[in-house]
C-alpha cells in the first residue's frame, strides 16, 4: 500500500512548533529545546509513517532545532562565532516564531470579521460559490496527530504469530465512517478507533478521515483549547456519496 496524502489543512514547521509550545504550556521566549526537539522529531516520524507528505521545510527545521540544542550544550563564550558571544542560540527561532504568531493572530482577527458570502451577502447575478471559510476552531493536523499518537500507544503490541491478510480498503473505510456518522450524528474522534485491532487498520481509518475532510464530506471541530475532537458529516449523506464517486481517492493515484 503506497498512499501519499497531501492535505490542504497541512501547515508548516512553525505551526508544528507553536502547537508543541502551546501543548507543553511553555513560553516562546523560553523554549525547552530538548523536549520540544524530541516531540518535533517524534511527530515528523509519525507523519512519515502515515505517508503524509512531509515537506523539505520540516526537515530543515529539524536540523535547526538539533543545531540549537547542541549549541545550548556548549558553555557560554565557547561558541564558534564570537560576534554572537553570550547570545541565546534560540533567539533567531524565537524571533521567527513571534513574528509568525503575530500574523497567525492577524489571520484569526480577519476570520472573525463579517465576511462577504459567508456572513453578509450582496445582490449578485450569480450564486456565490464561496460560502464558508475554515473556522479557526477547527482542528489542525497536529491536534489530530497528537490524538492519534495516544491511540497508537494504547494499541496492543503487535501479535507476531498472527498472520491476518485482511484487506482494509480506504474506500470501504470511508464508507464505514460515513454510515456510522449518518446513523449516530456527531462522534468523538477516539470512538472510531475503539475496535481497531491492528496498526494497519488504524492507519487506514485515519487516512480515510483525512480523505473525507479533503473532499469536504467530513467536518472536524474542537472546542477551544484541548477539548475532544468531534466529527460530523459536512453535507447530506447522498451528496457526500456522489462526491466520493467522483473523486479520485488516494490509493488510485498512488503507485
Amino acid at each position: 500500500m503506497d498512499i501519499t496524502v497531501k492535505l490542504e489543512i497541512f501547515e508548516g514547521p512553525l505551526d508544528l512548533l507553536l502547537h508543541l509550545i502551546k501543548k507543553n504550556e511553555v513560553s516562546i521566549t523560553d523554549i525547552p529545546i530538548a523536549t520540544i526537539t524530541e516531540q518535533y522529531l517524534a511527530t515528523l516520524e509519525l507523519m512519515q509513517s502515515l505517508n503524509l507528505d512531509v515537506a523539505g521545510e520540516f526537515l530543515v527545521m529539524a536540523a535547526t532545532l538539533i543545531h540549537i540544542k547542541s549549541r545550548m550544550l556548549l558553555p557560554p563564550g565557547e561558541e564558534e562565532d564570537d560576534d554572537e558571544e553570550g547570545s541565546d542560540p534560540r533567539e533567531e527561532l524565537m524571533r521567527q516564531l513571534l513574528e509568525y504568531q503575530r500574523f497567525k493572530e492577524a489571520a484569526e482577527e480577519l476570520e472573525k470579521r463579517e465576511i462577504l458570502k459567508r456572513d453578509v451577502f450582496v445582490r449578485s447575478p450569480e450564486p456565490p460559490e464561496e460560502v464558508e471559510t475554515i473556522g479557526f476552531d477547527e482542528v489542525s493536523l497536529f491536534d489530530l496527530l497528537s490524538a492519534l499518537r495516544r491511540i497508537f500507544e494504547r494499541l496492543p503490541k503487535e501479535d507476531v504469530h498472527e498472520v491476518t491478510l485482511e484487506k482494509v480498503s480506504l474506500r470501504e473505510k470511508m464508507q464505514c465512517l460515513l454510515d456510522e456518522l449518518h446513523r449516530r450524528g456527531r462522534l468523538v474522534f477516539q470512538s472510531f478507533f475503539e475496535n481497531v485491532a491492528s496498526r494497519l487498520e488504524l492507519v487506514v481509518t485515519f487516512l480515510a478521515m483525512l480523505e473525507l475532510v479533503r473532499i469536504r464530506a467530513l467536518r472536524m471541530t474542537q472546542e477551544e483549547g484541548a477539548g475532544p475532537i468531534m466529527l460530523e458529516l459536512a453535507a447530506p449523506l447522498e451528496e457526500v456519496q456522489d462526491r466520493i464517486g467522483n473523486e479520485k481517492i488516494g490509493e488510485e493515484h498512488g503507485a
Binding site: A55, Q96, F103, A106, R113, E114, E130
Partner: protein
C-alpha cells in the same frame, strides 16, 4: 432635489451597482447636488435600514457604499443557494494577512515569515482577486511585489486599509530580555 427623493435615488443606484460605489461617483451621477447633502442622505438611509429592521444594510466598505444583508440572515441565504462551499484554508488566510499588513511584499519575504512555500496559495489568492501584483522590487531578479485589492476590502468588510485590526506588537519579546544591557541604538557602530 428634495431629501426624500434623493434618498430614493441613492437607494436605486446602490441596488443596481455590482460593487461598492464611491461617494465621488455618486456625486458625479447626481451632478449638482452637494457632496455634504449626499453624505447626509446616505447616513439617514443607513439608520433607516438599521432601525426599520429591514433585510438590507447600507454599509461603507472598500472606499464606497454597498447594500448588504445583515449577518443574522446568513443561514437563510445559504439555504437559498445551497451552494457547495469552496473554502479558504488557514494557509490562504494567513498568507493574505501577511500581504495585507506588509504590502508591498515579495513572495520570498512571505515565505520567510510563514516558513513554508507559498507558491500555490499565492496563485489561489491572485485567481480570487484578493491580491494583485503591484510592482517589481528593485533588487536582483526583480521579484514581484504583491498587495491587496478592493475585493479584499469588500470581502472582509473594511472601509480601507487603515481599518485593518491593529497588529499585536511583539511586546512579549522586549519584556523577556531584561538582561540584554545594551540599548538598541548602540548596535549602529
Amino acid at each position: 432635489m428634495e431629501r426624500n427623493e434623493l434618498k430614493s435615488v441613492l437607494e436605486s443606484l446602490l441596488f443596481v451597482a455590482d460593487a461598492p460605489v464611491p461617494l465621488v461617483q455618486l456625486a458625479d451621477v447626481l451632478g449638482g447636488i452637494h457632496r455634504k447633502e449626499i453624505e447626509a442622505a446616505l447616513e439617514e438611509l443607513q439608520s433607516e435600514y438599521e432601525t426599520g429592521r429591514r433585510g438590507l444594510r447600507l454599509v461603507e466598505v472598500a472606499h464606497g457604499f454597498q447594500m448588504r444583508t445583515p449577518k443574522e440572515h446568513a443561514e437563510w441565504i445559504k439555504r437559498l443557494y445551497q451552494g457547495r462551499p469552496a473554502r479558504m484554508s488557514r494557509a490562504t488566510l494567513e498568507t493574505l494577512a501577511i500581504v495585507a499588513y506588509k504590502q508591498p511584499i515579495t513572495r520570498s519575504e512571505i515565505e520567510t515569515i510563514r516558513g513554508v512555500d507559498v507558491d500555490g496559495v499565492l496563485s489561489t489568492l491572485l485567481e480570487r482577486r484578493l491580491i494583485r501584483i503591484v510592482a517589481r522590487k528593485d533588487v536582483p531578479g526583480r521579484p514581484y511585489l504583491y498587495g491587496t485589492t478592493a475585493e479584499f476590502l469588500e470581502m472582509f468588510n473594511l472601509k480601507d486599509l487603515t481599518h485593518l485590526p491593529t497588529l499585536k506588537e511583539m511586546e512579549e519579546m522586549t519584556v523577556s530580555s531584561p538582561d540584554s544591557e545594551s540599548p538598541p541604538e548602540s548596535s549602529q557602530q
